[in-house]
Structures are given as C-alpha cells and as structure tokens.
C-alpha cells in the first residue's frame, strides 16, 4: 500500500499579528507547529501501514524553513518526507493548494491512499482533502475516525463521524481520507530513530521539478481573493466587568438570569 500523508505546518494562532491598515497577517514572528489534525492523520496512516504493509510518504508545501518540522515524520515512523517549495506555489487558496498537492502525488509515483487532517487550524476550510480527490479522480471520505482493510485489496472501510451518527463506507482505492482531530493518540517520536530522521534528507520539489500547469498554481491559480480584513463587530454589550466575591458574583449572575426571563420565583 502506497500511502501519502499531507502535513501542514501552521503558525501558532496566538502569535499571528494582524495589520488592519495593510490588511495583512504578519506570520513572520509566529512560531509554527504541525497542524494537530494532520498529526492524527499521520498516526492513522502509520497504524494502517503497520497492519497492511507498505510505505508512508509525508507531503507538505511551504518554505524551506519547514524542513525541521517534516523531520518529525520519519522520527515517528514515516518512510520519507517531501516538501514542495517554490515562490510559484505561494499565495495559493484551496483550489491551487489542492492542485499542487495532487500534482505532486502523481509526480512521486501516485498513491493508493492519501490521508489528510480534517482541517487546518489556520485556514480551517476543510476543503483541501475533497479537492485533492477531485483533481486525482479518486474517491473520498472526510471526517473519518477509523480505517480498516476492505473485503478486497481495492477497497478500505472508513468510518465517518457525521452530525447525526457514524457512517461506515466501503471506499474504492485510490482514495483521499480526511481524519478528525483527536481520532487517535499519535505515537510519540522514537528517539532511536531521531538521529536517522535528522540526517535523512527531506526531498524538496520546486516548480521545475514538479511540472504542472502554471495557470493552476499559486496566486495565479487562486480564484478567491481577500477583499478586506476588518475587526469583528462586537455586539452592543454592556461590558460591565466586576471583581467581587463569589457570593456577590452569584447574586449578580442570578439577577441577570432573572432579567433574561428564565427563572421564576
């Protein structure tokens, strides 16, 4: 089984600064982390590989500074790591991002199963996994908590977590699966592999190496545009803030509850 895991390096949300005048987000000073749902995706992929055999390749897109984050993947058990890095990929929305990732998956030899996190903690669109599936003409199952082997080698069984229950589908391969955050407890770094992971090279693909249709890449391939940033309109709240004893606080809250017409006595 050839498995590709899409891993995103995201800035820590609390460290991103907003410049309302230039309408830009300043991520330069922000420390980064692996997107939490993607770490669950990696665990799903590794556990599945451990049962059925095969190879797990981690795929990411971003500047060369992301390399150290990707080295974590071989240290937990991934077989190789690939970073897509080129200015031509920058400024991508979900359409261009999914095109770039899908093209890279083809370039590195294709995959039977592509595992992503349900959504990124920065963009939060959850659109990239189904979009990759469409570019590759693969089947898809999003919001998955578990995958197991199917009846034949051409399928897997995926359990999706939906609003009203859990749906198990038989999914034709190749397929894209997105994994819900918290679906599993990701295995921790194996320090016996750490030195190997640090020395292992992360394969970097730039535009020349990737190929692909430039009209679908980066800013040019992104039909959406940020028309503006604004402060969230704060509703007209009273904003009365008190530092009082617990009992006084309780009395004030109770009065608020009664004012809202919720308790009669």
């Amino acid at each position: 089984m050839r498995i590709v895991v899409c891993l995103k390096v995201v800035p820590r949300p609390e460290e991103v600064k907003v410049n309302l005048e230039s309408k830009t987000l300043d991520r330069a000073g922000a420390r980064s982390v692996l997107n939490p749902a993607d770490v669950n995706a990696l665990e799903t992929a590794l556990a599945f590989r451990d049962t059925v055999g095969g190879k797990v390749t981690v795929l990411s897109m971003g500047p060369p500074q992301f390399e150290p984050y990707l080295r974590v993947a071989p240290a937990v058990g991934a077989d190789e790591a690939v970073l897509l890095s080129d200015r031509a990929f920058g400024g991508a929305d979900t359409l261009a991002t999914s095109y770039t990732l899908a093209t890279a998956i083809g370039k590195i030899g294709g995959a039977d199963l592509i595992v992503c996190g349900e959504e990124s903690s920065d963009g939060g669109t959850s659109q990239v996994p189904p979009s990759i599936a469409e570019w590759l003409d693969a089947s898809q199952a999003t919001y998955v908590e578990r995958i197991v082997s199917g009846k034949s080698a051409a399928t897997v069984l995926a359990t999706r977590v939906l609003e009203n229950g859990k749906e198990t589908v038989e999914l034709d391969l190749p397929a894209v699966v997105s994994v819900v955050v918290g679906a599993n407890e990701p295995r921790f770094i194996d320090y016996d592999r750490w030195a190997f992971a640090q020395s292992a090279s992360v394969k970097v693909l730039d535009f020349a190496a990737l190929g692909g249709d430039p009209q679908y890449l980066g800013l040019k391939g992104s039909p959406t545009t940020v028309a503006g940033l604004r402060e969230v309109r704060k509703p007209g709240r009273r904003r009365e803030v008190l530092t009082v004893t617990a009992d006084d606080a309780a009395a004030r809250i109770k009065a608020e509850i009664e004012r809202a017409g919720l308790v009669r006595n």
Binding site: L95, A133, E134, Y143, P223, A227, R230, V232, T243, A246
Partner: protein, 325 residues
C-alpha cells in the same frame, strides 16, 4: 474583469431522510434576498433517490426547485453527487451556489469547486455584496478579533458554505416556483463509496435552537459536572469551546464557534473561555452574555454584558447554591 452576477443563485438543500436541514432553509431565506438584489432567480437544488421530495422547498420562496433523482443517489457519495450536480451547474451557469457547512456539505463543496474550477469560501458567518455585486463571505480569522472578507471575482459559480444558525430560519409561506426533475445518467462506476452501515447517534443535540447555554472552556480544566448541573437547573444545554472538545471533555456536537455551531440563546454563561474570535462568533447572536474568567484582560469580557473576574469553582458553586435556594 468580473464574472456575471445575474445568472441566479442556487442553494443546495441537504436532506436527512425526507426532511431538509434547517441550515438549507436558512440559506434559501438569505439567497432569496441576494437573488432579488442581483436581479436573478433562486433555484433550490435537491438530490436523492426518489422523486417528489423537493416539493416542501417551494414554501421558502424559490423560483425553481430542481430535483436530481437516481437510485444511485439514494445515499450520499461525493463522487456521484459531484457528477450529477456538476453537469447541471455547467448547463445553467448560476452566479452563486450556497451550501450548508455540514460535514457532507463541506465534503461535497470541496469536490464540486474543483470540478467547476471555481473559488470556494468556507464556513462564512456573513455574506455581503461588494460594489461589483460579487459575493463577499466573511470568515473569522486568527485570534485578535478580525475577520476576512473573501470574494471570487472572476470564476462562476461563486461557492460559499455557511454554518448552521448564521441566518434566520424563514417562515414557510405560500408555495412558489416550479419543480423540475432531472434523472442524471449514472452507473455503478460513478460511485466512489458505498454505505455499509450507519450507527445513529443516541442523543443528538442542536445548540442552534437552545434557549440557555452554559459554555465551558479551558479554564474548567475538564470538569463539566457542575456545568451540567447548572445547565439542567436553567433548562439549558452545555456547550464548549474548541479546546474543550478537542481535549475530549465534551462531545464535538456541543462545540460553539466558527467550526462548531452559531447559537442564538436568550442567555449564555461562558465559563473559563478566554474569548478567541473563532469562539465568540458563535455567541455574539445571544441576547445576554455573562462571562466568568480569571484573567481580567481576557477578550471574552468585550463580548459580555456582565463579566466576573475570578475563579470559576467558587463562583459556580455559589451560583448553584443561589439557584437551588
């Protein structure tokens, strides 16, 4: 250069069994308004295995109801649904397509956007029109209280997914519009997946309709027992921030905010949540907000009518005593 905006608005009306999700009806209400302002028509699109299911949508003001029916569409599959819907979009070329940001709605939207080579704005908490009549979807961004307006000026349809509860649920009215049924050409090989089983969740909660919500965040440290008791006393429900649901303290369907639900309660008590914008968008439609937090500079106090600076435990205990007295 800008795309056409008078090609009409489509709404994907999602079904659960024979009934439509309320988010789809909310979108019909909003899309009616948009279509009128843009001078186009409103089409409600529904997909399923049997014909005739679309008729109830006529009560929410569409000009047309389009039913795509085929036995292979009886249960949802992204590939088959995208094929069936994509063909109709290519034929009719609407200016906009709105979908509910449900799990299957998101699943479908991501695939369909690529099929149509168009832009998609996900999880919006507001839709406006810019001076060229393009849709601008407002998406809450990073902490720090900002939101980004995203538009898709050239490609069509402009696709947007909207959280449940963002727009008001319209009242059903006198039926309008015609119902047209299309049977797409599909075969087994157009499916990417087949449902094997479905385990219905025992108790599903819909916070969008709750009158009182007691919300716990990181500051609860994971102890929700007193919050549950408080919610019971007030006849309400327990809600949670993303941190609390990610930590597994509370089920995911109780998560409030940008990627959870947008609520409209009479009262919300926010306990131990700092007030990140991704969360506050989910409570800003409440009539009254009361917040308790240890940190006097927590942004939640800007979103509260009454804020209490202090430790959660003693305040909640006192409140429980006061309510039980």
């Amino acid at each position: 250069m800008t795309g056409a905006n008078d090609g009409g608005c489509w709404v994907y009306a999602e079904r659960q069994g024979d009934s439509f999700l309320s988010v789809s009806l909310e979108l019909l209400g909003k899309a009616r308004e948009l279509a009128d302002r843009l001078g186009g028509e409103l089409t409600a699109l529904t997909v399923g295995g049997n014909s005739g299911a679309g008729a109830p949508l006529r009560r929410y003001g569409p000009d047309h109801v389009l039913e795509l029916t085929h036995p292979l569409l009886a249960t949802y599959d992204a590939k088959a649904y995208a094929t069936a819907i994509g063909a109709e979009l290519s034929k009719s070329k609407p200016s906009a397509l709105l979908l509910g940001a449900t799990r299957n709605g998101q699943d479908l939207a991501g695939r369909l956007a690529v099929r149509m080579r168009t832009g998609l704005t996900a999880h919006v908490t507001g839709i406006e029109l810019d001076d060229r009549q393009n849709l601008v979807g407002w998406v809450p961004g990073f902490g720090g209280g900002i939101e980004a307006g995203v538009s898709c000026p050239v490609r069509r349809p402009q696709m947007v997914t909207v959280r449940p509860g963002v727009f008001p649920l319209p009242e059903g009215r006198t039926p309008t519009g015609d119902v047209r049924e299309v049977v797409p050409e599909l075969s087994e090989k157009d499916l990417g997946s087949r449902r094997v089983s479905f385990e219905v969740k025992g108790s599903s909660v819909d916070l969008t309709r709750a009158g009182v919500i007691v919300v716990g965040g990181r500051g609860t440290g994971g102890d929700f027992t007193r919050l549950e008791k408080l919610a019971r006393l007030l006849g309400g429900e327990v809600g949670a921030t993303r941190i609390a649901t990610d930590a597994g303290w509370v089920e995911r369907d109780r998560m409030i905010g940008q990627t959870g639900v947008i609520t409209h309660p009479k009262l919300v008590l926010v306990l131990g949540a700092s007030g990140a914008v991704q969360f506050t968008v989910g409570i800003d439609r409440a009539s009254t907000v009361v917040a308790v937090n240890r940190d006097p500079s927590a942004p939640i106090f800007d979103h509260a009518d009454l804020g209490i600076v202090g430790d959660l435990g003693p305040v909640v205990d006192s409140l429980l005593r006061a309510l039980e007295a």
